[in-house]
Amino acid sequence: MVGNDVVDLVIAERESNWRRNGFLQKVFTKKEHDYISSFHKPALMVWLLWSMKESAYKIFVQENRVRLLAPLKFQCSIHTCFKGNFSGEVISGKKSYFTFSKVSKDKISTTAYSDKITRVNSLSGGLKFSESGDSSSGQEIISSFISNVSEFLNITPYDLFLKKDELNIPYLFYKGNHLKSSISLSHHGRYGAYSAEFL
């Protein structure tokens, strides 16, 4: 399964004050505090860890069919870091989720996988909106995702349809039939992103 998250760093800096009293304590473990304080850009590490937790959580929701707000229960380790590419692991209970994050000047995008094997039948992509996005942005992400899927599976986009359930989990349909897959969509500020794995 896959889960993803995108963070617009400009919007995050403007709309979230992670420096306020109590914020870091509610979200990050001791080990994660150490990552933040020892990194040369603490703010970047805050949002990197955040997006790792968030993308792992999105798999958790698909697996357990329950939503919850428990950032401390998703515990991050960073394994490798090279030129803005971070690989890591998020542990929740007995489960491990494996994350890949890409950091650029004003964006972090992360995809989490429920198992370690690199799958060939998975795709990820993203798009940028001119402003901070609006009510139509969600639809734009879906359109971009569907056109990518249609190329990937070599089928016509008009036969593809995406529907979200009450937990906000997206499901993909081909000619009215549910296509066995795990899908994750994310939108923050000027950025949208999607990840999918076909089973």
Binding site: A12, E15, S16, N17, W18, R20, N21, G22, F23, K26, V27, W50, E54, R67, L68, L69, A70, P71, L72, N168, H188
Partner: protein, 87 residues
């Protein structure tokens, strides 16, 4: 404080974070912070911190888990305020 008063206080706290102001006007117990008010998850932490300082309570990590709707927040505030009163 009764539930209606708590909801009204919550509305003031939530206002700066809610992306959907129309949904905020029609707030009720079943209003979902993420699905209805389109609040981003980082701002949910802000709301919890604001609730703690406004109602003078501590929301422990177990209780935070359920804070997905306005109704859940109201229950939690009442429960914690009662505990405070007994101490």
């Amino acid at each position: 404080m009764n539930n209606q008063e708590i909801i009204s206080e919550l509305k003031t706290i939530i206002k700066p974070y809610a992306q959907d102001q129309i949904a905020l006007e029609n707030i009720s117990g079943s209003t979902d912070f993420v699905k209805d008010l389109k609040i981003n998850s980082a701002n949910l932490i802000d709301i919890i911190l604001d609730v703690e300082s406004r109602f003078n309570i501590v929301v422990d990590d177990e209780s935070i888990e359920k804070m997905l709707t306005v109704g859940a927040a109201v229950d939690l505030i009442r429960q914690k305020a009662e505990q405070n009163g007994r101490e």
